[in-house]
């Protein structure tokens, strides 16, 4: 298990809830099992041009493009606030090279944080993110160096992939057994009038209820083949039935992404619903 002493298995996933400044005014984040920061990169990133969002039925396509202030401003301005939450704090990081990961971990490892999530699955950037998994050797080195740079747990975040087992195997060979499954899938829609993609960048990442069957398949595949894997199930979790399905698939923790944007109070109400139904 990733965490020995987590309050509950509900985790805010990386991105939709930003770095919690807004959400913490609406709900008490200390009631969550863990919270994950928006992915941080070595340099600041402006993100992609607008429109960055298209709604689809039961889902959402985004091309935010990892907008973030970069590691230095993050450490200076945001991390001190994040440290204060009394819950597990997972820092999501992405880089282009093993050295990028190493450098970022070094800068934050002494803060009051609990784990790293290596984002190898953002579909909305041309370099880094999901592109790293195209190169098994690079992917492996990024994991290896990250593992060597910290005593804290490392979590590998992957997307829907036809090589999911290979990617998991490489991580497990580096003694990293924690996975977040899954990130968004590449998707797009067109404007019927102009013939242009509705997102400025063309392709974005699909999240929300529509991706649940794919996420369940990835979680199940990994857990069936690697029972020792500790898995944060992520993709379309909105209610306790969704949570139950992810549990049956083999998830140990439950990530809440898009649902937080739909209803910022949902993480707490879902956690309560779950505890009333299945825990208490």
């Amino acid at each position: 298990m990733i965490f020995e002493d987590i309050k509950n298995p509900f985790i805010l996933s990386s991105g939709p809830s930003g770095n919690f400044q807004e959400l913490s005014k609406i709900i008490d984040l200390n009631e969550m099992g863990a919270i994950t920061t928006k992915t941080i990169t070595p340099e600041p990133k402006e993100g992609n041009p607008v429109p960055r969002i298209v709604n689809i039925e039961n889902g959402f396509i985004n091309s935010i493009g990892l907008q973030n202030p970069g590691i230095d401003e993050f450490v200076e301005k945001e991390l001190p606030e994040i440290e204060k939450y009394k819950t597990k704090k997972i820092i999501s990081i992405a880089g282009y090279s093993p050295e990028d990961f190493q450098m970022m971990i070094k800068k934050i490892d002494d803060f009051n944080i609990d784990a790293y999530e290596l984002n190898f699955s953002c579909p909305n950037v041309n370099k880094g993110g999901a592109t790293i998994t195209q190169n098994f050797d690079l992917y492996k080195k990024c994991i290896k160096i990250s593992k060597e740079s910290t005593e804290k747990p490392i979590i590998i975040k992957l997307g829907y992939s036809d090589r999911i087992l290979k990617l998991v195997e490489i991580a497990i060979n580096e003694d990293v057994k924690n996975f977040t499954l899954i990130n968004t899938l590449k998707g797009m829609r067109f404007d019927l009038e102009t013939g242009k993609p509705l997102l400025k960048r063309g392709i974005g990442g699909v999240s929300g209820s529509v991706i649940k069957p794919f996420a369940l398949a990835m979680v199940y595949t990994v857990k069936q083949n690697y029972p020792e894997a500790s898995i944060i199930g992520n993709g379309g979790i909105f209610d306790s039935d969704d949570v139950l399905e992810f549990k049956y698939a083999g998830a140990d923790y439950f990530g809440i992404g898009t649902a937080v944007m739909m209803d910022p109070e949902l993480p707490i109400s879902l956690k309560n619903e779950w505890e009333e139904k299945y825990v208490l």
């Binding site: 960055r52 209820s209 739909m262 910022p264």
Partner: protein, 229 residues
């Protein structure tokens, strides 16, 4: 989520007027918006301004353009919608309160201008709202309206014929671009596709001379001179 019951509904062509009664009393400042949902399902919420508020009763003018607004338009009177908010800053927080403003609107974007005029009549010097369609005639007093198809004139044309200094504008991007070429003290209320509506998801950025801001959290009103369109 707040529950809203549809009290009145009128549809003409692509425009819809809606009166909704909320089951909670929240105060919405002119310029702020609500995130609406048609059902308690797993679809995302969508941002809408209101045109007026009277206690728990709020009014909308909505353009039916896509999936969400189509479904909304198929709801019957007494059926429920769901909403959260208010979000964003009221206009009043962003403008110089010692000045009087001309309110310049285009289409449904005009809702918050009507709301502003109602709540702060003393701060309004004049108001003109361009519509392609005369549906709003019964909903919005006539003197405020310009029917672009009949008068062959837009609110911008009207503005050019007059000598006003301070402008608050809501409408299509083209209108803001035209305003930008004129030497006025203008504020614009921006629209962008939204996810969360509260600043967390980074879905609704606008480039400003002070860096990237979020329309939902930092706006929706911005000083036009600060915005990079």
């Amino acid at each position: 989520m707040i529950k809203g019951k549809i009290l009145e509904k009128q549809i003409k062509n692509e425009y819809m007027y809606l009166k909704v009664e909320m089951n909670e009393n929240i105060h919405i400042e002119p310029g702020q918006f609500l995130m609406l949902k048609n059902d308690m399902d797993k679809n995302m919420a969508k941002p809408f301004s209101i045109m007026s508020q009277d206690g728990k009763e709020i009014e909308f003018i909505i353009k039916i353009i896509g999936d969400f607004t189509k479904k909304l338009s198929q709801k019957n009177i007494h059926e429920n919608i769901y909403l959260r908010g208010p979000y964003g800053h009221g206009f009043i927080e962003k403008i110089d309160k010692n000045k009087k403003y001309v309110l310049l609107g285009g289409g449904c974007g005009a809702a918050p201008l009507l709301h502003f005029e109602k709540n702060y009549p003393n701060m309004v010097e004049n108001i003109k709202i361009g519509f392609k369609n005369s549906f709003v005639e019964n909903v919005v007093p006539e003197y405020k309206l310009i029917f672009e198809n009949i008068e062959k004139k837009t609110p911008i044309d009207w503005l050019k014929e007059n000598d006003f200094e301070n402008i608050i504008s809501c409408g299509p991007k083209g209108m803001f671009k035209a305003l930008k070429t004129m030497d006025k003290n203008s504020y614009v209320s921006l629209e962008e596709n939204m996810g969360c509506g509260i600043g967390m998801c980074k879905g609704c950025p606008v480039k400003t001379i002070n860096g990237i801001k979020m329309v939902c959290k930092d706006g929706p009103l911005f000083k036009l001179s600060e915005v990079i369109l």
